[in-house]
Subunit: 345 residues, 2 copies
Amino acid sequence: MKTVGIRDVAKLAGVSVTTVSHVLNETPHTRVAEETKNRVREAARSLGYGPNRVAQALRTRRSGLIGLLSEEIATTPHAGRIILGAQEAARAHGLTLVIVNAERGNHAEAHRAEVQALIDRQVDAVLYATMYHREISLPSNLSGLPAVLIDATDGTGRLPSVVPDEVGGAVAAVRHLAEAGHRRIAFLNNDDDVPATRGRLTGYRQVLAEHGIPYEEELVGESASEPADGYELAKGVLGRARPTALFCYNDRMAMGAYRAARELGLSIPEDLSIVGFDNQEIIAANLAPGLTTVALPHYEMGAWALETAAEMLTGGNDQPVGPFEPLLLPCPLVVRESVAPPRRP
Amino acid sequence: MKTVGIRDVAKLAGVSVTTVSHVLNETPHTRVAEETKNRVREAARSLGYGPNRVAQALRTRRSGLIGLLSEEIATTPHAGRIILGAQEAARAHGLTLVIVNAERGNHAEAHRAEVQALIDRQVDAVLYATMYHREISLPSNLSGLPAVLIDATDGTGRLPSVVPDEVGGAVAAVRHLAEAGHRRIAFLNNDDDVPATRGRLTGYRQVLAEHGIPYEEELVGESASEPADGYELAKGVLGRARPTALFCYNDRMAMGAYRAARELGLSIPEDLSIVGFDNQEIIAANLAPGLTTVALPHYEMGAWALETAAEMLTGGNDQPVGPFEPLLLPCPLVVRESVAPPRRP
């Protein structure tokens, strides 16, 4: 492979190698005419010659690489949005994202090996993303360098972290139903002991209280959160408690609830309104009718985490001292066609 | 940030800095006892000290970085599988994947800026992945370094490339239906002029011929490939031609076909068998009944591309001379519950 060198750039631009070096490395206190600078940059661009970041890294002891450890890249669409958000922010800062996939893992040292792979690569900082909102214990080797948590908190508040505002998202969803006139609103919840389960229940109860609607146990069910579980739970609650609306823990459960409604001869939204959570497009946009749901801020969390890491690095404040409060990002309502006023309000 | 240095490792292992350097860099022709080597490696591991890859890169003129340009990371689950395949292969070779997202783009220079970003990072090679099987024109700046195409061909055969065996996948799908006894098999095809459209039609016709089933125009429809399109197409063909089975261009169209069948009072698979394509899990596994479909080899394509790039680099053969024939990887059938023998064979 023939590599384009600084000599080629100098030749094409008609200047000395030193001038090229000064221009491309933006060496301070050197005087080069703006017109010459442009000529050098244009020559470098046309030849595909970039600043020697490897040499730069040795000089500054910075690699310009930010590691993103993400669980389950291949099985959840959420990881893609986090990656995109972090990557676009990285580009704006002239940083490069190195991504490492990890299996989902709950024990403290589960991701030790992946963190080590990033350290070996001499990343300047690590963004650590779980595949859903979780409280985690951090692998011990993460303590040696700047790090930011995405969709996770570690209890100690030792690291900056960003998570979805679960309560606020549920409030938006249930308020949308209450404001359409519904008072018998069932909640099909997940049964894992995770922040989303607790936060969405809190939001649900909060809106009921706001609207003077009593909380009824028979309107709330809990199970695993796949379509088959949503189907079973919906059949149960529709049979026993005659709600006019369902708030589902996620879009996958809502998908099952659609099937249950269909089998019971209930039209959506005329006989039954449904709101989901996640805005998992392939489901929410393609169910018939389209599912009104709540979006998770994955892109925004990825971007925020990168910005926060970049700030630590440029501020020379690599290890700011916590404890940090997790930043809550809003979960906005996405309105489609699955909500209408109840037949008998 | 306190960085762990080679001196810390030497001290912990009780050896000289030179010995640590020899062991960790695997310097040839140096004699260190196996037991000492293990002690050094263990010390390095426990301190989180890695080989200095930056210095290494300057020495070898290799960065150890492989760039992966992938379209639409955030909107398709396919990108995740390609990333995972490439990344696991990269790890096996001690290489690191740097991922850049690109918007979908069809004109030749669409991804020029993204390729340049990777060149600026001094990647040793580029893997270039499109979001679905396409014939593309390559950005001109891709010609300066080793590159491999994933899910794409460039017509000239200048670069190694890997794509799904569209014909073989369709043959597997339609043969599964024919072997269950179906003879009136409709094909809901996509209407874009892309390799998948043409290849899957070829496979469909091939199986009909194998089984002595005449090709009937009224059993074949074409449209865009979203669920709403599959719904319309399925309603049309079920109304006019009474097929006992549908082969759908993708799982999204099959999702629409399920809805059409339901509205016409047809049970799947008792009254109508359906096979999809893509194995998009969130749809295929969650439709009721589960959709039998054909899997695309995204993981395998990512892994193959990385292996091919690694071979070019280690073989010292950075720019092998084409033309290359695209490698076709198999698309295996994934059997769920949507196929049964026809009521009247």
